[in-house]
């Protein structure tokens, strides 16, 4: 079953993303509030996918992404950004992100992006929620 690690500093966004992924049937194996914690958790949890918020204090999402990719170039990561900024997306892709998620989160498009990267979730685990 595909596993996900969420790196997101804002409580509400973290909860929303968590519940969207969970109710779709993905297994959220960990959540981190900042980049350092996220990098630490990714080492121990080895998730299939890591979602990284762009705007975080101290270490921003791009730095987190670049560090994660340097440690393991096979890492599958998505950047979460509230601004439609093409250069940001370009940069994330250059660093090796598999795609991006626009905030505020919209379940349907978000899950489509996640599915593209790590495949469909386990249907048995999903709540029957029609997004």
């Amino acid at each position: 079953m595909p596993t996900v690690l969420i790196i997101e500093d804002e409580d509400l966004d973290r909860k929303v993303l968590h519940s969207i992924l969970l109710s779709a049937g993905y297994e959220v194996v960990g959540t981190a509030r900042n980049g350092e914690e996220g990098i630490e958790l990714s080492r121990t949890l080895q998730p299939d996918l890591i979602t990284i918020d762009l705007m975080m204090p101290k270490m921003n999402g791009m730095e987190v992404l670049s560090k994660l990719m340097k440690e393991n170039s096979e890492t599958k990561a998505l950047i979460c950004t509230s601004a439609h900024s093409d250069p940001v997306v370009d940069l994330a892709m250059r660093y090796g992100a598999k795609g991006y998620i626009i905030k505020p989160f919209q379940a349907k498009s978000l899950l489509a992006t996640v599915k593209e990267v790590i495949g469909a979730p386990d249907p048995a685990r999903a709540n029957v929620w029609d997004f």
């Binding site: 705007m55 791009m62 509230s82 601004a83 900024s85 250069p87 940001v88």
Partner: protein, 356 residues
């Protein structure tokens, strides 16, 4: 038509107030004898103004009722009471009333007080809406401004790390300048955000030992810059009533400044202490660093106003503006004294009670 709710336990008095109000063209929604009923009616009918007696028939008095009504529904409450003793007035103040009329009062005073309360309540509502808008505005500004900055920095970094070999030394230097500038702007945005948060975050008052906080801040600075030789003297037992988070930000800024501006001073000394002026305790943070021209003392609290170049002493001119807002929100005052080359002293007061 302005709708008024009258809360008064004596029926004859209530009716007399109601008839006066009608004569001035107000609509009296109801006259009620208890605070409990008043809270319920206020929630249901949302009157424009509530006239509230303090002594009421129910379990709660008018002050408690007013407290809940202004907290829940933001309806202006005017107290109408025979009591004008200090204790009652002190309690009434806490409920944030829009007026206080002592019986017997003149009709005209009632009219003027209601009109003033209406106006003030309207202005407060507008201000609150404007603040909310500003909150979401500064949030989106910060995100939308920072995203491109992250891209500028990131692409420059890629150039630096991957393509530095293709560039002459001057080109590599340009890249590092681009990155410095992007980071400088990022800090500026962050500081602006902090300033706007400081202006509106709710204040929670606690007793704070600022001698202790100041020593911790100085200790942290000494650890982060072990090469600097700075001595400090902090008076014991400096206690204020303030919001822990905000006061720490204020002290960090003041002490951080003292630390920064003594950078080029031999025998750098930072003092944190207090003096008594009459009944008022005045706190100070004093250094013997670069100082500033004494006639510019008022300018240094204006955001983005800097008296030194960025090369000489890095900074963006938001720190002291932030400190001033924090002190003002606690109901205190802050001012500065300085001389070029002879250091700066920042004085501030904190009132005994809570601030706004």
């Amino acid at each position: 038509m302005t709708q008024v709710l009258v809360v008064e336990d004596e029926a004859i008095v209530a009716e007399s107030i109601a008839s006066k109000l009608r004569r001035y063209g107000y609509e009296v929604i109801d006259t009620l004898p208890t605070g409990e009923e008043a809270i319920e009616m206020a929630g249901k009918t949302r009157p424009d103004v509530i006239l509230m007696d303090i002594h009421l028939a129910g379990k709660i008095d008018g002050i408690q009722a007013a407290d809940r009504i202004s907290g829940q529904f933001h309806i202006p409450v005017i107290f109408l009471t025979a009591y004008a003793d200090e204790q009652t007035i002190a309690r009434a103040k806490e409920a944030g009333p829009f007026g206080y009329l002592v019986k017997p009062f003149r009709e005209r005073d009632l009219y003027v007080t209601i009109e003033m309360a209406r106006e003030r309540s309207k202005l407060e509502a507008e201000l609150e809406a404007a603040n909310r808008e500003l909150d979401s505005f500064s949030y989106s500004v910060s995100h939308d401004l920072r995203a491109p900055l992250i891209a500028i920095d990131g692409f420059s970094q890629i150039l630096q790390e991957t393509y530095a070999g293709y560039l002459p030394p001057d080109g590599v230097e340009c890249l590092s300048r681009i990155r410095d500038a992007a980071n400088q702007m990022d800090h500026l945005i962050e500081d602006f955000l902090r300033l706007s948060r400081v202006t509106r975050a709710p204040i929670i008052i606690e007793k704070l030992d600022i001698s202790h906080i100041a020593r911790e801040i100085l200790g942290q600075l000494a650890t982060s810059e072990p090469d600097r030789k700075v001595s400090w003297k902090v008076e014991d037992g400096l206690i204020i009533n303030g919001d822990p988070g905000l006061c720490e930000i204020a002290l960090k800024n003041l002490i951080g400044n003292a630390w920064k501006y003594t950078n080029k001073t031999d025998g750098a000394l930072i003092q944190v202490g207090s003096i008594m002026q009459g009944q008022t305790k005045i706190f100070f943070v004093k250094d013997n660093g670069a100082g500033f021209p004494s006639d510019k003392a008022n300018l240094i609290f204006i955001p983005l106003q800097r008296l030194h170049s960025h090369n000489e002493f890095p900074g963006n001119g938001i720190g002291l503006a932030t400190v001033q807002r924090i002190v003002n929100r606690h109901g205190g005052r802050i001012w500065a004294e300085g001389e070029v080359g002879e250091g700066a002293t920042f004085y501030f007061t904190f009132p005994e009670g809570s601030g706004q």
